[in-house]
């Protein structure tokens, strides 16, 4: 009798935990407040994106692109990797190879989108497709840490992207119009901006939730594949290969 009562208690507790878990994960939303939070979080980083955009504006003009096209590209494409890569092929005649290169260096976005899917896919489809227009590396890195720490507002991703986008466009415009007078921007360390920021966010994630082999085995795998692939794969594909390999290792280690 006592045993069955205790059993009932346990079942009730388990049910309560399950219900609260479902509620916790289903509360995903896309709100103006979340968008503002994203803008605030990414604002300081966006200031650093302005010179990065300037570097693109300068490089675009150097490759023979008009200032209008350079700015239009930052508006419509909004991807440093894709835009810099396209410059090398801009004055060639092959549109197909240009688009293939753009696809190759952007393929990692497919993986970023998949990684965000546990949260983003709880939104209605039109909201989800709108929120993902502003997906880029920095706001992905910020949002994935935030979502793993109970942020439930996809506005964080969208708002962060919007302020980065604005900074990217402003930077491109300055660079394309008056950039030649600044000289080589890389001497200010613009090129180490993103790797420095990503390593910091990686450490932040690991400090808040270290899961032993589940954490370091995929990371080591990804690092090795990235270095190896750098020399044998076309540009950008080493990142994709490393991420997929890291994911597979994460899946294999899971539950052991």
């Amino acid at each position: 009798m006592v045993d069955s009562q205790a059993m009932m208690h346990i079942i009730t507790i388990v049910q309560v935990i399950r219900i609260s878990k479902v509620q916790e994960t289903s509360e995903v939303l896309l709100s103006a407040r979340g968008i503002r939070r994203g803008i605030r979080t990414m604002f300081a980083l966006a200031l650093f994106i302005v010179p990065y955009g300037m570097a693109f504006g300068v490089a675009a003009i150097d490759s023979g692109m008009s200032a209008t096209h350079a700015v239009a590209m930052s508006v419509f494409v909004f991807s440093g990797a894709a835009q810099f890569a396209s410059l090398e092929l801009w004055s060639s005649a092959s549109v197909v190879s240009l688009l293939l290169v753009v696809l190759a260096v952007s393929a990692r976005f497919i993986l970023l989108g998949a990684s965000l899917s546990p949260w983003v896919n709880r939104l209605k489809r039109p909201q989800r497709l709108a929120a993902l227009t502003m997906l880029s590396d920095p706001n992905f890195a910020d949002s994935i840490n935030a979502f793993q720490n109970r942020e439930r507002d996809i506005g964080r991703l969208l708002g962060g992207g919007l302020v980065l986008w604005a900074a990217w466009i402003i930077g491109t415009t300055i660079g394309a119009v008056i950039g030649q007078s600044f000289g080589d921007l890389h001497r200010f360390g613009i090129d180490v901006l993103m790797p420095s920021y990503f390593v910091a966010l990686l450490l932040a994630g690991w400090l808040s939730e270290w899961e032993g082999g589940q954490t370091w085995l995929p990371a080591i795998t990804a690092a090795l594949i990235a270095i190896f692939g750098l020399h044998v794969l076309p540009p950008g594909w080493n990142i994709v290969g490393a991420a997929v390999a890291g994911g597979v290792v994460g899946g294999l280690v899971h539950g052991r």
């Binding site: 419509f76 952007s106 998949a114 546990p118 896919n121 420095s196 920021y197 990503f198």
Partner: protein, 100 residues
Amino acid sequence: MDASLYGFFIIVLMGLVVYATRIAGSELMSLFELTPRLEAILKAMASSVLVAIVVSECARGDLRVSAAVGVASVTMLAFKNPLIAMSGGLVTAASFSFMS
């Protein structure tokens, strides 16, 4: 390729290709049920992308890039603030440039 209107056309095509990659992962995952193992795969993949970007930047660049990333890591551990860490990396890289 820069003949004005044609150039815009190419830019819009590029934008569509990149947007397709932005939504493809989420669209693809909507076909699968999210199991704990799949969640573990996605989580590992999320940090692996960032690890891969950082490591290939270091491998492709010179000592200056690796030093900047190293300083950013130490600064992050000390101050627990990504922006301070990034500034640490930036200052390191800039000092390298101005010293050489």
